[in-house]
Symmetry: C2
Subunit: 333 residues, 2 copies
DNA sequence: CCACGATGGTGTATCGATACACCTTCGCGG
DNA sequence: CCGCGAAGGTGTATCGATACACCATCGTGG
């Protein structure tokens, strides 16, 4: 492995001069610079980022911590962040927090996160205490909906509004019994599902309709297969409904499959609304009506806030909630 | 920030003893060990991974480089690798190579990759020369189908077999004009699409049927929206076909949508087969018949080969191709 | 009763790049 | 012709952890 020293020797200057050339410090003469650049090219020298990071403190890298990237929502989010960070000259790496060895949250350890200039941390699946343990002076922006230590900047989606929007839409289209798949009964962790379910409740109240908690189905996880089964079970149990609000598009995909399995037509027999507006949703059969949570706004704010912290700003934490918007497609009338 | 020195001072021992405690070196007395651990706990000390990496060489981290994680195939792959690496005590981070600033392949630079103990590099979207530039002694396993420098271990999917399998299945089910969406005309880069298209050709020849290249549609990218439009255009142009082999499930989703748009029924009018067996595919309407490329086998081999290199093995590079398997669902008869 | 091995612990150089203070040399104004 | 500032360049300490050689103490077998 070639180091600064090798380049210095090869070009007959000191290591500092080589370092200065690499970092574009202007105090190097043109002839010298060229000699050094030639030597770098010659030896195929590349800077050791680990050493630079240790000495200079900066790494040029930002981490995005999400539960798993095989959930399309997080995959799409990661790609958005990558694009948003590219113009700033910083590089994004993705860490998955669900993949813990023996329940240890390795991805979340202070030691690991400290390697980065900044961290975008999706709060989904994390506990308040885990996050509270983190150093306050690590540039960190929280994403997602869980209640989290207020000392951190926090950007979240408009879950309450979105849940209300989705449900209102169904009610306005004539639905009277709106199944909430992936909802929660009462407050659990104050997270995404709680908030979206609250929106569902709130829309019922606003319309002067009763809130029937037996319509709230809570599968063990927000996965397509489980949602599909939940629909089978509900129908088998004789539960009557004329619409479904699925807590995520992912769940909605399972719901659409489940309804098809039991011979119910969408939107004629049952209307369906999702949440997230995944890329795949407009290509489903039928195309999925869904709540668009303005991920672009989320990303924009998160990057802005993180840049501010990385630049050393110490001010109060900012808490942002994105606007939501209903995207009407074929799964509702 | 607290360092080893602080802990040493607080517990009245040398930094080396603290280091030995942290690394579980057995030459530390029980009483001392406990005193040190107490001090660590007290001060909230966490090891500086950057310093450790610089000195000790190891980082405990493996990078997976994929084009983008918003493509479900890569998202699912990343999650699989994360799970496969967890038992080895190593940590996975995901880098995206498509996100280049001004066309620069930052994720692929030697400097960046050298930070990791090992690298799993998806060759999709990379050039031979880019990869050839990399140091041979970096533990690296190539994934994917492009022709790449043979000095690296390389695990790829059985694209040729899979393409043949898919097409054979369609022909066996009575199809006579199989549209290949996302195929290529002749050899382009020897990559995934070329190989799958070859499989399509090969199946035709094996069945004694003519190979009609006008049936090969090549959208600009393997995206749902473009595939959907490609189907519209083909139908509008009067192209006749009774089946579609989509180069990926992602493309197949677009194809299903496109066929629905123009009023063609699947599988009655047109049968469809995809490739990848994404999680979503079994929940589509109709459920998608697809080629399962044994990603678990891919992951297993890749991890095995990488471990071998990280352990210092120097032997010849191994090249593995995974077996493929057809998963029959509702999109074929 | 001494030599020697086991046990427990320490000092120092080092990984590679960079911050910072300092040193030359040269041109030019007074 | 001297002094001073600018331009170009260098030496050294340092970031934090670890490898390695070395040191001290003590128990025990010959």
């Amino acid at each position: 492995m070639t180091t600064l020293k090798d380049v210095a020797r090869a070009s007959g200057v000191s290591v500092m001069t080589v370092s200065n050339v690499i970092n574009g410090v202007p105090r190097v003469g043109t002839a010298t610079r060229e000699r050094v650049l030639a030597a770098i090219d010659d030896l195929g020298y590349e800077v050791n980022l680990t050493a630079r990071r240790l000495r200079a403190g900066r790494s040029g890298t930002v981490a995005l911590v999400v539960p798993r990237v095989d959930h399309p929502y997080f995959g799409e989010l990661a790609a958005r962040f990558t694009d948003a960070l590219a113009p700033t000259g910083r590089h994004l790496v993705v860490e998955q927090s669900d993949a813990s060895k023996e329940g240890e949250l390795t991805a979340l350890s202070q030691a690991r996160l400290q390697q980065y200039d900044g961290v975008l941390l999706s709060a989904v699946g994390l506990q308040y205490a885990d996050v509270d343990r983190l150093d306050a002076d690590l540039p960190l922006v929280l994403l997602g909906e869980k209640p989290m230590p207020p000392r951190f900047d926090h950007v979240s989606l408009g879950n309450l509004d979105g849940g209300r929007l989705a449900t209102q839409h169904l009610l306005a289209r004539g639905a009277r019994r709106v199944l909430m798949v992936g909802g929660t009964h009462g407050l659990t962790d104050g997270g995404m599902a709680d908030q979206r379910t609250d929106g569902w409740r709130s829309a019922h109240r606003a319309a002067g309709l009763p809130v029937d908690d037996s319509l709230v189905l809570h599968p063990a996880a927000f996965e397509m297969g489980l949602a599909r089964e939940a629909v089978h079970d509900a129908v088998a149990a004789g539960l009557r409904f004329d619409a479904v609000f699925a807590v995520t598009d992912q769940v909605a995909i399972g719901v659409l499959a489940g309804l098809r399995d039991v011979g119910l037509r969408v939107p004629e027999d049952v209307q369906v609304v999702g949440f997230d507006n995944l890329a795949v949703s407009e290509h489903l059969s039928p195309a999925l009506t869904t709540v668009d949570p303005s991920n672009d706004v989320l990303v924009m704010h998160a990057v802005r806030l993180l840049e501010r912290r990385m630049a050393g700003a110490a001010g109060d934490a900012e808490h942002v909630v994105t606007p939501t918007r209903l995207v009407e497609r074929g799964s509702t009338r």
